[in-house]
């Protein structure tokens, strides 16, 4: 038994560097942030949280962040689902080319992505000019520097990563399930609603978690496009630490903790749903 413990201990030793990094760069800053969120000028206070939940500027930031995150994640997920479905059913060079493109675009985010969108859909963007030239109002009047305008960018950066995640879930759908259902008289819709989607649901929810966290924590893209003209939680957090006028690390920490809680609650809720769908998962 002692031998076994020693053996296990030996293996665990390889995890020490990772544990060290997690403690140093995640747990200590988190603990510091939690403490700071209850401090103001060296004294304990609940004012930071009171401000977050009472001042309209922060409530609007929360509302905007939740709206753009939820809507872009849901729309992104729907697009990812159908692109993943189409990709899983295709073969050959076209598929590998598309996968390479997805891999490439999944790393194309932040400032370069914002600049690309400004070039295409900004005030003097290519498509906006084309819209003006040919009288296409939807393009001519496109306002990228708004919440609705940014929504397109958010959906865009959700697609490559979400599709790649969804594709692996589609690979798990067996041809035999489709054929069995078909022979029993079920069409495509019946198959996907009764078998395909329920089987994929844990993966769909897992993908949703990733998209949600990806969107709510997004900073560089909205900062470059809207800066402070549209209030978002991620921008507000950074403002409190590096603000030009006054730095308020206590309030910034409280906002960051709220952002963290939103993500944790969302992951908790989706994991509850996941557990329901995982009941029948193959062992």
């Amino acid at each position: 038994m002692i031998k076994n413990i020693k053996k296990a201990g030996g293996k665990m030793a390889f995890l020490l560097p990772l544990a060290f990094i997690v403690i140093l760069f995640e747990w200590i800053p988190l603990a510091d942030m939690v403490i700071r969120s209850f401090m103001d000028g060296g004294t304990f206070t609940l004012d930071n949280y009171a401000s977050v939940f009472t001042k309209p500027v922060y409530l609007v930031a929360m509302k905007n962040s939740l709206w753009i995150t939820l809507s872009s994640s849901v729309i992104g997920l729907i697009i990812d689902f159908f692109v993943g479905m189409a990709l899983s059913g295709s073969k050959g060079k076209g598929k590998s080319l598309y996968l390479s493109l997805l891999n490439l675009t999944s790393t194309f985010s932040g400032v370069p992505l914002s600049i690309a969108f400004i070039t295409v859909l900004g005030t003097s963007g290519v498509f906006v000019l084309i819209g003006r030239q040919f009288g296409i109002d939807a393009l001519a009047n496109y306002h990228l520097y708004s919440l609705g305008g940014m929504f397109v960018i958010y959906v865009y950066f959700q697609i490559p990563m979400g599709t790649l995640l969804m594709l692996s879930a589609f690979e798990k759908i067996r041809k035999e399930w489709k054929e069995s259902a078909y022979l029993m008289g079920a069409g495509n819709i019946k198959f996907w609603t009764h078998i395909g989607i329920p089987v994929m649901m844990p993966a769909i929810l897992g993908t949703f978690n990733m998209l949600f966290a990806n969107a709510i924590a997004s900073y560089a893209t909205p900062y470059l496009l809207v800066n402070n003209s549209i209030s978002l939680l991620s921008i507000k957090v950074v403002d409190m630490f590096v603000g030009d006028v006054k730095q308020r690390p206590g309030l910034g920490s409280a906002l960051a903790i709220v952002l963290l809680v939103i993500v944790v609650v969302q992951i908790g809720l989706t994991n509850l749903c996941k557990r329901h769908f995982e009941k029948g998962a193959e062992k």
């Binding site: 067996r174 035999e176 054929e179 022979l183």
Partner: protein, 341 residues
Amino acid sequence: MSFIKFENISKSFDTLKVLKGINLEVKEGELLTLLGPSGCGKSTLLRCLAGLEEVGEGRIYLDGKDITYVDARQRRIGMVFQQYSLFPNMTVRKNLEFGLKIKKLPKDQIRKEVDEALQMVGLTDKDNAYPGQLSGGQQQRVALARAIVVKPKVLLLDEPLSAIDAKLRKSLQTEIRRIQKELNITTIFVTHDQDEAMIMSDRICLLKEGKLEQIGTPIEIYTEPKTTFAAGFIGNYNVFEHSEFEKITGEKNVLPVSVAIRPETITISKEKKEEANAYEFKGKVVESRSRGNVLRYVIDVNGIRIEADALFRSFSIFQDNCDVWLSVAKHDCLSVEREAV
């Protein structure tokens, strides 16, 4: 009158011709096995009947109706696949209910039909289990129950036992045959295992490279193979060119065609038996292999290898390099066609 009729069926995948003009009839209530090596087209033929593959040329008739271009959902065909066909998100009961719900049967009837099907496959206690909680054998029994619960006109079994261990496989072979007879359901069974085909079938249809090689009852196929391929595939026959057979027997022009001899029809002894209407020849034991109650000897006769079986008894054990006499009745030396290579 035939219940299922394949008329000149051909099918290609890109440039590869998988089925080459198959003509085959299946009687109502019989269990016909499509037997052949991998890639001979047996599963493709089955899938054409199910409507899961489009037929290239030819026609398929079921119960007197042309179903060649009928949607698979309308054909009323149940199918059990090799493995993993159960819906993993549904319990055993829900898997069975699925097809009946599509048919919009009343709830009470669905419950009754599912109970009966579960009872038939002996899995009444597993109705709330998920497929992932069942063994491979249990999963295939559920798949069988799911295929028959909808009362199909035809049951198709596409190598349903190939992923199951040998012992369980034997009991499932018996169980499938029992259920098939009980329901008197027309069944087409696909396998590459000749023993399985022999045990389960009313008739066996032997396929080779997309063509029908021979069809008949298991005994007909086993005792009267028409070609060297059938002889080699079904009964582990010794197949000899006529020149080889002359070399073995030492007689000229004994049979002008290829000759097939089943290993168990050859008698091995220390002494010459001088039997009438039999060929007798001397050889040397090269090796012996135990096959349970049977010993299979490989014997060299004038440079040609012959396989012969003997029951595992003390007086029939011969050591390697030992000289033996082989005797085979003339009527057990079958003339077979050697197919063009």
